[in-house]
Amino acid sequence: MNRYIPLTQEDQKYMLEKIGVKGIDDLFSDIPESIKLNRKLNINDSYSELEVQKLMKRLSNQNNNLDDYTSFLGAGSYDHYIPSVVRHIASRSEFYTSYTPYQPEVSQGTLQYIFEFQSMMAELTGMDVINASMYDGATATAEAAIMAIRVNNRSKVAVSSTIHPETWKVLETYCHFREIKLIKIPEIDGKTDLEDLKLIDSDTAAVIIQSPNFYGVVEDVAPIEKVTHENKSLLIMNVDPISLGIAKSPGEYRADIVVGEGQSLGIPQNFGGPYLGFIGTTEKLMRKMPGRICGLTNDVDGKQGFVLTLQAREQHIRREKATSNICSNQSLCALMAVVYLSVMGREGIVDVAKQCISKANYTMEKLLETNKFKKVYPGPIFKEFVLETALDADKIEKALYEEKIIGPLNISRLKKDKKNQLLFAVTEKRTREEIDKMVDIIKEVH
């Protein structure tokens, strides 16, 4: 007997009789003998709960986790503060064991938190509408590019070189197979090169700008917005939601589509996933957007309630004509984000952003004071920054690691042409003591 399968021998006998077959094998008689396995799968035998726990703990202990290490590593995955409340709510199995809310009468919990997620993200980004979430920030960006093509029927999408290199890779994959042309707008001083905006023309469906960009630099989107809209192209902004506590929002920049990675909003780093992609747009383009959207309505008695809406865009209705093949959303991660945003509230989100920007700037100044680093990009920065060094990056990594610090990202790992450049991430969680310690260790590296 297995603890998840309640079938007793007696049950089985009774059920087979009722069905009118002799044995379980008869229920598989429709499978041709030639393709039957007729041997045991060559995987493990079953383990007891205690054995599984031991095995899994042994594996997890082979990892060095960020509870024991102080992290200055970012580049798309960040060590932000996660309030206890988040895990407690996300662990409620009424939420996590439910399906997509296709039966709204028994899914009002899920639907309402999605509605609240949409509301809070719309507030943060300044957009008219945000959907129920996407797989991650990179795929949300690719979906935005495809959406733009659908909106204005043009053939190419222009992307700033300052975008996260892995987001670019995902864009490349999606666009290659969809037969969409991608062009790169060059960068200068760690920012999108405004001189090269002439690449944007009447055949450009959209311009994609990440801000803060991969180098941590907050881009000035205003001149880009001007050229983009002059060419009747769509402006797609990829943003870090935490930065929006203080940074000018995509709505204020009159962006047409906003996307981003929401992991910073209360979601564990999880070795890269599950994370939380988001996508939003203007009221005008709402019906072109991919993914689920929750809307407010009322029931037959006039009582307020929520439903999935505008489903005529989606694959289960439109099949090959759908706005995307996406079927799910990252619902549980959206729940974490909405609880996080509820906890932080309108003051907290600003406080977090201010701590990030001041701690990152403090760290950068301290590192520059060691005379072992050179500032390569003038900024302004938010929670990450790039410094160039003549020191051996591996030596820095090793020295820090010995003192239980996970150091910055060596950019050459993702961008081969960038030598000796390190990307540091400093969130509100880093203390002055931790920062000073990191700087002191690097001082001693030769």
Partner: protein, 484 residues
Amino acid sequence: MKNYNQLMIDLSKKGRKAYALPDNDVDVKPLDDYLPKELQRTTKPYLPEVYEVDVIRHYTNLSNKNYGVDTGFYPLGSCTMKYNPKINEDMASLDGFTKLHPYQNENTVQGSLALLYDLGQKLSEITGMDGFSLQPAAGAQGELTGLMIIKKYHEDRNDIKRRKIIVPDSSHGTNPASVTAVGYDIIEIKSDKNGGVDMEALQAVLNEETAGLMLTNPSTLGLFEKNIVEISRLVHEAGGLVYYDGANMNAIMGITRPGDMGFDIVHLNLHKTFTTPHGGGGPGAGPVGVRADLVDYLPYPTVEKKEDTYYWDHNRPKSIGRIMGFYGQFGVLVRAYTYILTMGAEGLKRVSEAAVLNANYLQSQLKEHFKLPIDTICKHEFVLSGTGGISKYRTLDMAKRMLDYGIHPPTIYFPLIIDEAMMIEPTETETLETLDRFIDIMLKIKKEGEENPELLRNAPITTVVRRLDEVKAARKPIVKWSRE
């Protein structure tokens, strides 16, 4: 508390707070010194100001308005709503898995890499494939990945006139939508009278433009495709590849394998067959497996092993590319791995046996009372016509009435080829008593429908809200709270 009806923003009161950040202990300058004024936002976002108890009570109250597998029976066909073991959650919450940065040095994450490597091996054995990518985030992204592999395979052979993907008319909506997403065209073929692929229709459309065929087996009708070996052979002969949509893998584990049926590419839905929770709509995971000569096309990076050390292999020139920002839904993969350890080879086979037994039992008891369009042994699910031609009420009304009896209704109106379809998948984690109770409820509802159809049309009456006005929601969408 089912009448709880507040939005989080309604609880807001200026001056309250639910967070506690440490003091900012570095030297702080005015914001303008860091960020020029013109790059700053002008107003604070309109987020709630509440204290911690508000947050907990609000979302606890919302959770009480939800129905999950932990609440009760959830026979939602094609979704495999089985029990989500609690140990899976505990293991996925270990600090050694959750508190890891994806770019950490490989030497510091050997445990995670070993897990991923071993999971890939196990999934390969379960499906009869030669290599797996664990990157796809969901079933739909698995399909997309598989189709990209098909396209790249033809591109590399310079066989670019192959642009057509064949799917049966019973297929899930993501199949045709994924075909569009790779720029291919779709050809839908009719099912035969037994719900299988119509062999003549298939042969009629196979030609030098065929890129591939997508198939679920057992089909969305819950029936095993008996001709599968012949189907694979025909598609291969025409130069196409055969793609396996793993939505219904719960019926055949340890009994037969997609690889042995002739499939070239498969995706699995770990949130169905491998008990990771559906999470109210995600995150799931849709790993993709391929036969040996397609392994090079899998998304990069893949996890490889050299002696006793695991590493990420980014250097894969034939790969379709990257499809996720990092490595996919790692936390979900940990859960699935835990489940496979718990079940073992014999346990997984027993899962499929019990799932198929439960479905056949329900089918045998219900077919006396409801119209069963295709009367044969089913696999893990079956499709009834809910109303069977009675026009006083619809299958939708039956589903809504079921909510009043405290169970989640089956999938309705899918697959599209069955009139008033009701697709029932009990899964292996339900007792005989639960199945019998479901049968009783189905019969009761049928009787109610015959005697008083109004009762069904007005259902549900006991839920926190009753039928919602979807037309109103779509006509003038309200998709966020107002600022008043």
